[in-house]
């Protein structure tokens, strides 16, 4: 898989060299691990917490079908923002500084080479004719169908959510190191909470909060937060 992917990347890298995408897509694939909690890319990629990223490089912002963008991004998209390498690089450097109000809770990639590489990696997925095969879907934790199919009780979720809202703002605003969690697809919410519960994700506050929740409670929270805008 890895070999195939890097072969494809190498071939495509050749194609994109002429459009001045300067990075190394192989290195970019490693950087992209930081993005994978929220973004999918590749053949068949679906929207998660963030939009899927096929055809992102060089194309109009805010154009992924079925994804609900922040007001900030929607406004810039209306104003004609194109995700060329320069714009993407500025955004990825410090997302909240470049686009105040963005839903993307990511502090940024400080190193220019990291940004160049990850953009080069994304560029390999930005030509529909030769779309590289997606890396196999890797979830951080394995959950049973029974766990994933629990219908969350929204009213219960609303009560439980009051505990979350000491840090996570119900308006969807986000400050400092605390991400916005409203409007997430529920399956993403469920995976994220179980990843904390199983201590795969490192934050001790979230490990503790998720650790105190059962499967039903996580499902209830996921259902409640999915319905918030």
């Amino acid at each position: 898989m890895k070999t195939l992917l890097s072969m494809a990347a190498t071939v495509l890298f050749g194609m994109y060299a002429s459009t001045a995408v300067a990075g190394d897509p192989e290195k970019g694939a490693k950087i992209f691990k930081k993005c994978k909690a929220c973004h999918a890319v590749g053949d068949g990629a679906k929207n998660k917490v963030g939009p899927q990223l096929n055809n992102i490089v060089g194309n109009a912002a805010g154009a992924v079908e079925g994804y609900k963008y922040s007001k900030a991004l929607a406004a810039q998209a209306d104003a004609g923002l194109i995700w060329d390498e320069t714009a993407l690089s500025e955004f990825l450097k410090r997302p909240k500084a470049y686009m105040p109000g963005t839903k993307m809770s990511f502090s940024g990639l400080k190193k220019e080479s990291d940004r160049e590489n990850v953009i080069a990696y994304l560029a390999t997925f930005s030509d529909t004719e030769t779309l590289a095969a997606a890396p196999a879907e890797e979830r951080e934790v394995t959950l049973s169908d029974a766990t994933l199919s629990i219908e969350g009780d929204v009213a219960y979720g609303e009560y439980l959510a009051s505990d979350c809202q000491t840090c996570h703002q119900v308006s969807g605003a986000s400050d400092g190191g605390v991400p916005a969690i409203v409007g997430w697809p529920r399956v993403e919410f469920v995976y994220a909470m179980h990843a904390y519960k199983q201590k795969v994700r490192p934050n001790p506050v979230m490990q503790m909060m998720a650790g105190g929740l059962g499967d039903e409670e996580i499902a209830a929270l996921a259902a409640y937060f999915e319905g918030l805008e």
Partner: protein
């Protein structure tokens, strides 16, 4: 903080326009009065008003028009926050949630008649009363200090003008001068607070007065996040901070505000700033209501109801509830349990089992944040700890910076959860 005795009725007119929906006790919409507009009271008022959707008439009594949070006030001392950035008004609670915000002091409670008397002379009726008055100081706990000494020797343990005064005094210290802190005995508001304050004072002094000394007289043998603070003090402020614990007389302290001296176990120290944080008790209104045992107001963990009067709920620092530390986060968490119980009692809404959580972040120096937290459940006896964590010594700089950034996110979160 400027305290006004003039009552200000926020949205009485707007609120009285809505039709009464539920009749409790035969006098229109059920009435909830909340005393104290901090992390406990503001949160409880907001959740009851929001979730009852107009079925409950909520009045919030708070003397200050502009509320300065105690949490993050140490960061003001360190120069990391402005005073404005930790100030909040009650405008949204009045305008968007229909809460009657009354800026006055509650001076009397008649539990039989279920009324609250305000300093301005008016009387409020309640079906349920929520007391979230925070702390007051115990007279005589530090010999030589009483509230009349607070200008010479500020406590700065209620944020606002006291915090500003303390900062001015620190900035005016002579080069090489001494800042002394008399630390409080347990239990008290914000267990890591005094030690975060020492860190922030040290940060300020390192910039403007690097030869100054910090002296802590502490009656406690150990304190919250001690290993983490001591590691940070050594790393960032080596040699500046000296703590005298009870084994060296830190529990035998008196002060003289006129002479600006601190006497520790008989030895007199002349100091330039003396930050006296006395022993604490529940805000005085709890004593007036007659619901305290000892210094605090005991409550049921399931609902935060007073053990003495089931029509009164007590939140936050003032309550004796069990294992939770006295913190803004705890008060906010307890407020949600109380709000649910109050709505259940007055409107029959569904009541879920109580759950509580707390995390306390502290800043040691620039981008060096640490934290401690726990989750709790209600038992018949008390709020009981379930699980917890604490930062570790030797963590790398990136993690400490992330912890500090998380605290900034938390501050924005909790203040929007309190004030809307």
């Amino acid at each position: 903080m400027k305290l006004t005795r003039r009552a200000f009725i926020g949205t009485t007119a707007a609120a009285s326009l809505s039709a009464p929906l539920v009749n409790a006790g035969g006098h229109g919409r059920p009435k909830v009065v909340v005393i104290g507009g901090g992390a406990g009271g503001a949160t409880a008022a907001r959740y009851i008003a929001k979730d009852s959707k107009g079925e409950i008439d909520v009045t919030l009594v708070e003397p200050s028009r502009q509320y300065y949070t105690c949490f993050f006030s140490n960061l003001y001392l360190g120069g990391f926050r402005s005073m404005d950035s930790i100030g909040h008004s009650y405008g949204t609670l009045a305008a968007e949630y229909g809460i009657n915000v009354v800026h006055d002091w509650a001076v009397g409670i008649d539990r039989g008649a279920k009324t609250v008397t305000l300093a301005g002379g008016s009387t409020l009726n309640y079906d349920r009363l929520i007391l979230s008055p925070g702390i007051d100081f115990i007279d005589g706990s530090v010999p030589g200090w009483d509230v009349s000494s607070q200008n010479a020797m500020p406590h700065a343990y209620k944020a606002g003008s006291q915090t500003e005064l303390l900062k001015r005094q620190i900035e005016s210290m002579p080069q090489g001068g001494v800042y002394a802190m008399v630390a409080p005995p347990n239990p008290y508001r914000c267990p890591p607070g005094p030690y975060e304050r020492v860190s922030m004072v040290a940060h300020l002094l390192k910039e403007i007065n690097p030869t100054a000394k910090i002296l802590i007289a502490d009656p406690k043998p150990k304190f919250s996040k001690q290993g983490l603070f001591e590691e940070g003090w050594q790393k960032h402020y080596g040699g500046m901070i000296e703590r005298i614990g009870p084994d060296f007389g830190g529990d035998n302290v008196s002060v003289d505000a006129g002479a600006m001296t601190v006497t520790i176990d008989g030895s007199v120290e002349k100091v330039d700033v003396c930050n006296v944080i006395p022993a604490m008790k529940a805000g005085r209104i709890c004593e007036i209501a007659g619901i305290t045992e000892g210094n605090w107001a005991p409550v049921s963990a399931h609902t935060m109801q007073s053990r003495i009067d089931e029509n009164i709920h007590v939140l936050g620092d003032a309550s004796a509830q069990g294992d939770m530390p006295k913190s803004g986060f705890s008060a906010n968490s307890q407020a949600k349990v109380a709000a649910m119980a109050v709505r259940g009692a007055l409107t029959g809404s569904k009541v879920f089992p109580a759950k509580f959580s707390n995390t306390c972040w502290s800043l040691v120096d620039t981008d060096d944040g640490i934290k401690v937290g726990a989750t709790y459940k209600a038992t018949d006896e008390k709020i009981a700890k379930v699980d917890g964590f604490v930062s570790k010594t030797g963590e790398d700089a990136a993690l400490r910076k992330a912890t500090y950034e998380e605290s900034i996110g938390w501050y924005a979160g909790i203040t929007s959860d309190m004030f809307g």
